[in-house]
């Protein structure tokens, strides 16, 4: 069966972008088809020409988002060989992905598979594709014997994904700086040597 030829007045891209923006800011359930249609400059019934349901629309956005994230990873890691440097870059790239202006990437973190009844398995599979990148990076690290690699990965992912809830573009650090700082907190000792008691100077305000 041949797909219809797409015409010049086709607004599928505008639709995807509008939906992704709203899903990533308002959430999936909280965003109505009327919201999406309005933002895309069409009427609600028209959405069903392009997608069979609201959940199908989400799935399409997830596919786009994951693909874009993996591209960002590959590009950033292209000629980097040192495992620690690769981890640092992956952290920064991921933080960038979920905090920057491309809504489809933001949706991956904002709308979780377990919060959606239909397509949950498919969405989880898509997420696994980029989480697998982290898994491989962690596996390549020369780590001390006490380190549980899967716990390290989960800890990193949690910290990184959490940035979406607190990062402000007007804050004092860029996304890359945050990524670098996170990597540094993991790699370099954070405690000052024992027996040296100093009043903390950089208090958390």
């Amino acid at each position: 069966m041949k797909a219809p030829t797409r015409r010049s007045n086709n607004r599928n891209d505008a639709l995807l972008d509008a939906a992704a923006t709203l899903f990533s800011t308002q959430g999936f359930r909280e965003t109505t088809m009327r919201d999406i249609a309005k933002a895309a400059g069409m009427l609600p019934g028209s959405i069903y020409y392009h997608y069979g349901s609201k959940d199908d629309l989400l799935l399409a956005i997830y596919e786009t988002g994951v693909e874009r994230i993996i591209e960002e990873f590959s590009k950033a890691l292209l000629s980097v060989n040192d495992p620690w440097e690769r981890l640092r870059i992956a952290i920064s790239a991921h933080i960038g992905a979920i905090n920057q202006q491309t809504p489809a990437m933001r949706v991956i973190n904002r709308v979780l598979p377990e919060h959606v009844s239909k397509h949950a398995v498919a969405l989880s599979r898509l997420r696994d594709r980029y989480e697998k990148c982290f898994r491989e990076l962690i596996n390549d690290l020369p780590l001390a014997p006490h380190v549980d690699r899967s716990l390290l990965r989960l800890m990193v992912l949690g910290a990184v994904n959490h940035t979406q809830f607190w990062f402000k573009p007007t804050g004092k650090r860029t996304l890359n700086e945050i990524g670098a700082a996170f990597a540094q907190l993991l790699i370099e000792p954070i405690a000052i040597p024992l027996k040296s008691i100093i009043t903390p100077e950089t208090r958390d305000t």
Copy 2:
């Protein structure tokens, strides 16, 4: 104005528990008043005798949840003086709080203030009360000069809150073990000494 005397057939506690359980598993928007009423063993209209709205119900649950979390913190930290030990215990206590059976504590992490239009400011204020505990703990740590304390706190909170999405009671680690492992990953160097290249033995599967 005197509050009505509560009678023996008052089911407010059952209502709070039912709502908290559903909010923490299904989410706020996804849970209907009919769901809640059914789980509490009453009819939907009856809920409005106790709470003016669905959002008011959420606020009451948040208040309970935050209070309980702070109690857990205080109890756990009672006679612990070493800052690193306090951090380790706080991490474990918090992981326990958001993963254990008390639904009101789970809601704090599952339903975020920015996802709810009404009471968002009040909910944020309540969250701040327990986050302040972490802030104080981080402030008391003897840290190296390169460490940004607020970034460390945000990283820890992200990692800890993320456990709610992957922890399984049937997994290979208890909540306390996870908490201890997280603290260890932060405190002890994770890299093996340079110039020592060994094939990783504990791969992340």
